[in-house]
Chain length 225, copies 2
Amino acid sequence: MKNHKSQATKDVPSQVKNQDLIYRRRMQIIDAAVKLFIDKGFHKTTTREIAREAGISTGLLYEYVASKDDVLYLVCEAIHAEVEHRVAHALKKATGGRDVLAGMIREYFLVCDRMSDHILLVYQETRTLPPRWRKRVLENELKLTGVFVKALQELADTGDLPPLDKQEIELIAHNITVLGHMWTFRRWFLGRHFKIEDYIKVQTDFILGKSTGGYIRADSAKEES
Amino acid sequence: MKNHKSQATKDVPSQVKNQDLIYRRRMQIIDAAVKLFIDKGFHKTTTREIAREAGISTGLLYEYVASKDDVLYLVCEAIHAEVEHRVAHALKKATGGRDVLAGMIREYFLVCDRMSDHILLVYQETRTLPPRWRKRVLENELKLTGVFVKALQELADTGDLPPLDKQEIELIAHNITVLGHMWTFRRWFLGRHFKIEDYIKVQTDFILGKSTGGYIRADSAKEES
DNA sequence: TTAAATTGATTGAGCGCTCGGTCAGTTTAA
DNA sequence: TTAAACTGACCGAGCGCTCAATCAATTTAA
């Protein structure tokens, strides 16, 4: 996992002076922790294991981090940064075509599919974080939803979607976000019946409405009165 | 919280002979644990605290339970039993009227609203459980979704809904379940903008389609060709 | 009738161990 | 030479779980 710089870098204090070293070592630490946390969860992972997996000593770990909670926070931020980065990147593909929204959903769901384990991890361990940081992580969730809010707003404004009020837009954006997450935490079951492409198709139909019309009818909005 | 008997009673072994006592004591234990787990999470709650809150000694706790994990499992099962019970009860109100499905969604969402903390708890701590039991808890989730699958199937059969294939029904049922849960784990944000009744309204419109038509159009299914 | 024996529930001090965190000392590199 | 980076043995608080001892209730037996 690439470690995209995030807020966290500044918030979590380190004893080490060399900024570049902080960046590199934390990358090792995060990668190691992500692997272990996904595998055995935060609580069953020891700091020793994290250090070992990262290829450094226990003592050194604490030069780059003040507590085990810090590691979790770094992990959550890193995952969010990665998701955000991928979504932003993927959404470029989606724009331009006729069904912008469908394209966005598709790309977002694909990101969810590929980052299932990571998204699930954040969901399950956020609670553990100290309040101050939990808040940060939750705000990250909003930020992602905000991307969809903005997109929906624009589409509604340009008339590509029927008029929707603020509340509706807000909620649809949340729905899209969460239905993406649903694939991650019900995958153990959904995976038996759906390939990700099936899932995308049926959910897109659900959100946009099939050709027969739907809650949001991107294609029929303009010609209808 | 009422303790509705569940599978768990048989699966978790106890040293105590008296069945009635097992029932009563475990009820105390579960109530205490639920309170503490919601408050500070499973890992930060000690067995001593559970015992104290339940009004028994640490030693006695272990006469009714073999491990701290057992307590978590009992809690998860109890919560599920409660949700299931409430949903089953609430859904009776929903049947009979014209918009059966809307009624079901409404009642289910109300249950989610009132049991937010509990549902959230199960989501966040399921991972901690030993595999054998984690599986059980996940299957419980399916069971609930199954209620909606069945209802949707019947409505589709009687023509109250447009024809939907198995996959679509399955997914819509999952969506309903998860959008109920969404209210529980995004409440910290959604609660600022929506009262539960607003949420129900907008989500129902989203799922069923507004009066202008939607993905599932309960009212227009019969008169259309 | 009642004292003795038995059963099963209950207590809580404390055992054993884990694991987050520290620090005295060593290595590296400029 | 020396400051920064790094090591890993060590510390000790905390916690899950146990078990010897007690108590209450019931059964037995004289």
